[in-house]
């Protein structure tokens, strides 16, 4: 049951093949078995079971709230959850229990979803994994064989999402299939009076038609995304996908996004500046960590922030403040904004030339082992990780990573589709067609759990190696 899609589980719940409580308990048991993976920061077992109980009542009375009623969900630990600790994986927010729910969390709960807990992340989501600032939904999705959707900026409320870069952050959706992503997007999308950057126009429900004919479709292949660092395996998968579209009658053309190479450095300036600003509120006064030093307010600030933030966060705060200094503002921040505009215009030009969607890799390679992963410092790592995903955030466009194939090593590889702003539905329709063609293998949870059990027995060993 845990390996199935949202739609399948929803149907099973409606038909009474499984109850929300049984489903919830299965999930909780899997979470416990995979604890060594450190996937969750907080597991909200009691809350989830209580929600399951209520959901069960609704099903019994025939008053189900819809497709999401009784469906277990996890939320990244940078979304505010009322009554549940929200830490951003930072010492700074250790023990911080928000008094309110993020709009997207509230919308899920209003539909009867069960909140299993809060998932792990880099401190303040400055690296990988549900919100997407530079690729943090699409990259993990590609590595895990999931669909990872980054909606258009302004389509989904950021209220309650603890910000990294306000102008690029978007709540992301991770699901097993494109249809599921569309269902969740349908629930989450729309104007939020609490977020002034959400669009005013009413959003229609996302019903994906099954595309049968792609002959009227124009797919763009950005030549700048063919970089030397791209693994040959992904490169060949990417061409296969292009050929697939062409062979089915779609028009596939090479396009140019000339300012792509400036994206990462531009992102660095804009991101660190917003980070420096957004982190100014963590002063230990109103909430979160506070040091013991009380000789003066300034000394308290300094010690609190030193203790509360890790090196990566501190480094970004320092660079960001440097870029915002009066003497540097024009040379760095304003220039980066201009470059951002050029990057966004690249996409506008391509879409205006008749391209409907862009097809690109999501990541340079399949997931690397932890020991490889930690060899590079955070900056290099994010520069590599976000190379194909980042520009989309600069431009505010929707993009989705679709699991495409398994590598020779048996690890998932995803490809990315990028769509026009606010044409999320069109994008997902294309993604759905592609998903159907590639027939990515269904994840075998039972097998996984058995594997886990063997690892579980060696948990001590596993934990040690993970904490190196």
């Amino acid at each position: 049951m845990l390996g199935r899609t949202l739609r399948e589980v929803s149907a099973a719940l409606k038909q009474g093949q499984i109850t929300p409580t049984e489903l919830c308990q299965k999930c909780l048991s899997l979470i416990k078995k995979t604890k060594f993976l450190n996937a969750y920061i907080t597991v909200s077992e009691e809350v989830a079971l209580k929600q399951a109980e209520e959901s069960e009542k609704r099903y019994k009375q025939g008053h189900s709230l819809g497709d999401l009623d009784g469906i277990p969900v996890a939320v990244k630990d940078n979304f505010s959850t009322a009554g549940i600790e929200t830490t951003c994986a930072s010492n700074m927010l250790k023990g911080y229990v928000p008094p309110y729910n993020a709009t997207v969390v509230q919308k899920l709960l209003d539909q009867g979803a069960l909140l299993m807990g809060k998932t792990n992340l880099d401190e303040f989501a400055m690296g990988a994994l549900g919100s997407d600032t530079g690729g943090s939904t699409r990259n993990p999705a590609a590595h895990c064989g999931l669909v990872g959707l980054k909606p258009s900026y302004g389509l989904v409320s950021r209220h309650g999402l603890i910000p990294l870069v306000n102008s690029m952050d978007v709540p992301g959706i991770l699901t097993r299939c494109v249809d599921d992503a569309a269902i969740v997007l349908g629930v989450l999308a729309g104007h939020d009076p609490k977020d002034s950057t959400t669009i005013q126009d009413p959003v229609k429900p996302f019903m994906l038609s099954s595309l049968t004919d792609v002959s009227k479709l124009c797919v763009g292949i950005p030549k700048e995304y063919l970089t030397p660092e791209l693994s040959s395996e992904i490169r060949s998968l990417w061409s296969k996908a292009a050929n697939l579209f062409e062979s089915e009658g779609a028009k596939v053309i090479e396009v140019s996004l000339p300012h792509t190479s400036y994206s990462i450095v531009c992102y660095h300036v804009l991101c660190t500046s917003e980070v420096a600003s957004n982190m100014a509120r963590f002063d230990g006064l109103e909430y979160g960590h506070r040091c013991d030093i009380d000789v003066s307010t300034e000394a308290m600030y300094a010690a609190t922030r030193r203790e509360g933030f890790n090196d990566v966060v501190r480094g970004r705060i320092l660079s960001g403040n440097f870029f915002l200094l009066k003497e540097n503002y024009e040379n760095y921040f304003v220039k980066a904004q201009k470059v951002r505009r050029l990057i966004a215009n690249d996409f506008v030009n391509v879409f205006n030339s008749g391209v409907d969607v862009l097809l690109t890799p999501t990541t340079l390679s399949e997931a690397v082992p932890y020991t490889e992963f930690i060899k590079e410092d955070n900056r290099t790592r994010s520069a590599q990780d976000d190379i194909f995903t980042q520009a989309v955030n600069m431009a505010g466009l929707p993009a989705v990573s679709v699991p495409t194939a398994l590598s020779h090593q048996g690890l998932p590889i995803g490809l990315q589709f990028i769509g026009r702003a606010f044409c999320d539905q069109q994008l997902l329709t294309v993604a759905k067609w592609f998903e159907k063609q590639v027939q990515f293998p269904v994840i075998q949870i039972q097998e996984l759990m058995d594997n886990c059990s063997s690892v579980f027995e060696n948990e001590k060993l596993a934990s040690v190696s993970l904490k190196q």
Binding site: A102, H159, S196, D283
Partner: protein
């Protein structure tokens, strides 16, 4: 060159008009401004023995001072600029704080429509150009009462720019001549107020109250077109009246709804402007004028002693009456301005640019706000002068006190007395009593109707002027009594019985033959003595003009001293 250049007090109102004695104004080319004398020993600032103690030196130039103002006016609105928290003065600490105001992570600003309308309305009243597109920025600094670590303001593109405001400066010996001065309005920007810090030095604690955090402010920047404390105070007063007329701010300085920072520099006329200092947080009209004049004189002294002016931030110590450098503002502040990414540009429309399908709840129409502009104080004063023929200075005085104009108009409605008489009674007697007891118009024990009735009695000569004063005092003391009741209780009505009055005159003349002789000898003052004696005999209940007439008639040659059948005389 006699007399202080910069004066603290005005005869009308506390600081209604910048009263500059025309006779003592001097300085090269300066029109009606206050040019400070740089000569030591001729201190332009009173109450400064330190300066007056110094000896004058010959051949020095005069100095000119330049004053610009940054005025923060709290917007009168139900809720804060970017959150739904209510706005109330003196609510229990931290009782009006939303998650956003406390800067909980993940909260976002949502612009309050009312605050935008208030800014547009104020901009229009100050003849500004309203920017159809304006932007919000973050201004960063760490302070305990600024929870987010930044203030959202409008640094790059404010909502209104390039305006002007006219304020009246009273000149001449009698200060009856009002000269209009203009100050340019550089810009009006919308921004958040900060919270309040309460320092408990004893326990070395700082207590924070966030009730004020996030309240909408209008920052009005006035160009350095003023030249002394009194001018600045008068300009601020005019702005205060405009804001109150518009209803965009209650602008009460005592409650912190209007706060002023002053930029001050001095230079020799014809030379470039000097280095300026900023005096922050001036929270009363009196201290505003005092602080500016002190700072002008301090800078002059500093420069004349060979010193230099530092570009620094100072505060006014109202106990010592001087400005001092602010310790926590030492060192260069870099506010690291950045566009506020959570707020899209603020777009305004006029009748022409209004999108046809626009939802009226979502758009703001400048032209519609223009149509709603109420009458501004300058127009009200002009009307008073036109309609009642009052002196301009009196029109200023009527507007300067909250509720006084309304009181005046209510009296006018109910009385037959001449407007001039009403003006005099309201501005001298009534306002005098209020000031003496430190009361607001709304707290007055005398109602407009009571004063109107009193003035009616006076008008039809039922009582004398002095009796009227007595009645007024009694009205003030004993609430609820009507003037008529008081007149009858105290027997203050004028003697209407001509015969009785003539008899009294006769008796007084007989009793004081020497005075009568003096009158007949031509001593002009002697008759006044007789009048006084007769009035005393009537317990001040007789009209002195009538007494005078009777006496003159009796004292004139050929008088038969018979009782006259004449009725009341008309007052000359």
């Amino acid at each position: 060159m006699a007399g202080p250049m910069l004066r603290w007090c005005c005869p009308v109102g506390r600081w209604a008009l910048a009263c500059i004695d025309g006779g003592s104004r001097y300085g090269r080319g300066a029109a009606t401004g206050c040019t400070s004398s740089g000569k030591r020993g001729q201190s332009s600032v009173a109450q400064q023995p330190r300066i007056t103690a110094q000896k004058p030196r010959k051949g020095e130039h005069e100095w000119a001072a330049v004053v610009g103002l940054e005025i923060h006016a709290q917007i009168s609105s139900n809720s804060k600029l970017f959150s739904g928290s209510q706005v109330h003065f003196a609510a229990p600490p931290n009782s009006l704080v939303s998650f956003f105001d406390a800067s909980l992570p993940g909260t976002l600003p949502v612009l309050n429509r009312r605050c935008v309308e208030a800014a547009v309305m104020t901009g229009l009243a100050l003849n500004c150009r309203i920017n159809k597109k304006s932007l919000f920025d973050r201004k960063h600094y760490f302070y305990a009462d600024l929870p987010a670590g930044y203030q959202i303001t409008q640094q790059r593109l404010p909502i209104a720019v390039n305006g002007s405001m006219v304020y009246g400066v009273c000149v001449g010996k009698k200060r009856s001549q009002v000269i209009n001065k203009t100050v340019r309005v550089k810009q009006i920007q919308l921004e958040q107020d900060s919270g309040k810090s309460l320092h408990d030095d004893l326990r070395s604690q700082t207590l924070i109250d966030l009730n004020r955090a996030g309240v909408g402010l209008l920052e009005v920047v006035l160009e350095p077109d003023m030249s002394c404390g009194e001018e600045a105070a008068t300009a601020v007063r005019e702005l205060q009246l405009i804001l109150q007329a518009l209803g965009t701010s209650r602008a009460n300085m005592a409650e912190g709804q209007l706060r002023v920072d002053a930029n001050i520099s001095v230079h020799h006329p014809g030379e470039p402007l000097g280095i300026r200092t900023e005096v922050k947080n001036l929270n009363s009209a009196r201290f505003l004028a005092k602080a500016i004049d002190y700072e002008i004189q301090r800078q002059i002294n500093e420069l004349e002693n060979g010193g230099e002016i530092l570009n620094e931030t100072r505060s006014f110590d109202y106990k010592l009456g001087c400005t001092v450098p602010m310790r926590d503002k030492e060192g260069k502040q870099d506010y690291r301005f950045m566009p506020e990414p959570n707020l899209p540009p603020l777009l305004l429309y006029d009748a022409e640019s209004l999108p046809t399908a626009a939802d009226p709840q979502q758009v703001i129409n400048i032209d519609q706000i223009r149509e709603q502009l109420p009458e501004l104080p300058s127009v009200t004063r002009e009307k008073l002068v036109q309609r009642y023929g009052m002196l301009p200075e009196h029109s200023f005085a009527l507007l300067n006190e909250v509720g006084l104009l309304e009181f005046f108009q209510n009296v006018i409605k109910e009385t037959r007395a001449e407007p001039k008489k009403v003006t005099s009674w309201v501005l001298n007697t009534f306002l005098g009593f209020l000031k003496q007891q430190n009361l607001a118009v709304s707290e007055s024990p005398v109602t407009p109707s009571a004063l109107a009735e009193l003035l009616n009695l006076l008008d039809r000569k039922a009582i004398s002027s002095s009796a009227a004063k007595q009645v007024f005092e009694e009205l003030w003391r004993s609430k609820g009594k009507t003037p008529a009741q008081i007149v009858s209780e105290k027997k203050l009505e004028l003697m209407q019985d001509q015969e009785a009055l003539e008899q009294l005159c006769h008796a007084v003349m007989e009793g004081h033959p020497q005075v009568v002789t003096d009158v007949k000898k031509g001593n002009p003052r002697a008759i006044n003595k007789l009048i006084g004696l007769v009035r005393k005999a009537t317990l001040s209940r007789a009209d002195p003009t009538v007494i005078k007439e009777i006496l003159e008639k009796k004292l004139s040659p050929g008088d038969v001293s018979g009782p006259s059948a004449r009725g009341r005389t008309v007052q000359p």
